[in-house]
Symmetry: none
Subunit: 225 residues, 4 copies
DNA sequence: TATGAATGAGATTTCATTCAT
DNA sequence: TATGAATGAAATCTCATTCAT
């Protein structure tokens, strides 16, 4: 598989001798493939369907990605890269720790709400026991920054004396992710069983506030401090 | 108890030994199908593979369930029935509200940890936009007791003055479910990315305590009360 | 195949010792089978579908008719018996020959128009190269009376000097049948291609008059005679 | 000539020898499929049987025609196209109207006698209530020329004063078609019941003469004119 | 690079028929 | 006579992948 470019997907065309369409063709395929796999899963996604919605042909999919699985992996890597990029764009270092937590929670929840494809791909990947994630050089070397961001905020809060309880950073991250993820990933079953649409703006707002409160509570945030 | 016992196909076989034994055949198929679908999803699951691991033939799958989708739906319904049964067996009515919450959280988390197949099926169903769930008369009339149980505890806690903050019951339920669900559903990607196995006993214990603390915090549990 | 009762299907129950339901069960099966085969053909008709619309079970179909083909044959025989019965009820012997021809043509056309199932079964049987017809003792011994009826009319007409041209009786019968049959059997393709519904009352009337005219013409009917 | 030549897929292969040769593959499949469907009907025809008698594989049938029904429709369209082509090749414009009628009747009867596959396919299609015909853009826009041809002859005959009776053109066409069609379509049942083989040359000749006479009679052909 | 045709293996589903009681 | 369960064989259709140019 010749795909594992650790540097995500930005690279603005490089101006080499090869036809300038190559990158565009690959991007076109990946965009469609992402929709297809997010919609139907790896087993349910159809190479034919992807090719049909692309400017190019099936042969090119194999030329560039080697196999259906190779394409799926590329899609997965791209999705994680985007998440990493979004995470690393947050600048919470100058905020009051409680406010930083609030903004981090909101950003995380919003990321998930706005990227249902990503959530679906992660669900799908877990159905496959994260087999592709595990096999991906790219993703294993991908530094997810969420923990670092959290670490900084918590350290500052503790130094300032506003966070008073000890809590494992990974647990804290899991907590924030779990709620954010569940709201999107389980939206359809939850909505069906309980009649609540978790996409509604005020439900969304309420859940973010709830999560912020819970997280601050776990950190032992002393409001008065 | 407002829960209308919609038959969950338990009834232990009226006449002991029947002729060619339809119930056993169906149960045999469903047991195997559940494994197959939970493992590979609806698209990835193979009717052939199911039949091969069964005492009967592929033909009988169609005889009893009509189609692969029909079988999947039957499996899904059964899985939800079991969860409902487990939920309704909890008797927390006599416990102190805080203790009841703790036990409810623990039971919920344990249910999920011990039923990874259920969690996977729900993920899969959400990938299908809960289409089968929505189409299932059985499941739509299935009274999920979780909310009732929660309602009772919260009402008692509030009456006793130990729960001091207002919180929506559905949000509370979502909160507990989300953490319980994510721990199992996203175990593989989380483990791969962060190097933590959420199945380990002490992680599990820690997460349950964390969730209990968070929930009690959201309820405004005043320990001294 | 135990079915070949030359005497068609009348026999009013016989009052023997056997369960009185036997004949009714058979008749029930045949009624449904006739619909099914007329609708979908021999290959397209489904034993399951027949059984499902019957008061009895699939097993009984095999008990009484031996096989799908046996049932089809029984249906075919019954259909031809009914036609024979209808034909033999015509009493044209006392009419003026030209009037008799007119009534015979009308009756034939009406028979076909009112028995689309029969027409369809005959089409289907011809698709099978009349294999079942050829193999049927019952039908081979069935005296189709159409030719006799025609023969009588033509003989009388010729004796009276009103039919002046010689014409083969079988050709004459073919002529009348062909138009009557085509109107029903090819109704759907004809209607689609030419936008004319041959079932409409005035089209039907027109065609009957046309056919009568043509037949009388072929017979050299001299009106003034 | 008001006939819009809707392409009937004739075009003799633009580039002589192509690469893997799609047209030949399709034509090969259709030739065999036509035999199979004409022989056994849509329900009775087997895709496997078609593939086996072809130079290619079953897979290609689905590649080119999508489904068994798609292939059947293609066969049906082709059969109708051929008929239209045959019809449009008749040049009766310069003949005496009575002679033109005779040749038209003979050609129509001959067409049917020489294309039993076409007749069988039309029977089969009528069993299906002309559902495929109705759904076929191609066939619905196919201008059947028979009526035009007839119209021209009748108009000339009337202008010349040799055709003296008014008659609906569609009825006239129905008449000619019905006899021609019945002779082939119902050959087997008719032969079985009445012991006459309608394929025999002198029967065929006799029927053509009979039909010509009847048609001219309906037109009020005055020989002396 | 690019393309349309081709394909083998295997997927789901169907069907007439029979068995056990 | 009656019934529901069972079945083997074969039907239709699908899919990722590769070939020839």
């Amino acid at each position: 598989m010749k795909v594992s470019k650790a540097r995500c997907m930005s690279e603005p065309a490089e101006k080499t001798t090869r036809r300038p369409d190559a990158e565009r063709t690959k991007a076109d395929i990946m965009r469609v493939a992402r929709e297809e796999f997010a919609e139907h899963g790896l087993a349910g996604g159809r190479v034919d369907a992807i090719a049909a919605r692309t400017q190019t042909t099936k042969r090119m999919i194999y030329y560039y990605f080697g196999s259906k699985e190779g394409l799926y992996l590329a899609v997965l890597e791209q999705a994680y890269c985007e998440i990493r990029d979004r995470e690393s764009k947050l600048s919470l270092a100058t905020l009051h720790p409680a406010e930083a937590i609030r903004q981090l929670v909101e950003a995380t929840a919003d990321h998930h709400d706005e990227s249902p494809d990503f959530v679906r791909l992660v669900c799908i990947e877990n159905i496959h026991y994260a087999r592709y994630l595990k096999g991906s050089e790219t993703i294993r070397t991908l530094n997810l920054t969420a923990i670092d961001t959290l670490a900084d905020i918590v350290a500052r809060g503790r130094a300032m004396g506003v966070f008073t309880k000890p809590i494992d950073l990974l647990d804290l991250h899991m907590f924030i992710s779990a709620i954010s993820f569940y709201r999107v990933g389980n939206r359809h079953s939850f909505g069906t069983l309980f009649g609540q649409d978790m996409g509604e703006p005020d439900v969304r707002t309420r859940h973010k506030r709830l999560l912020t409160d819970a997280v601050l509570g776990l950190l032992g945030y002393a409001e008065a401090a």
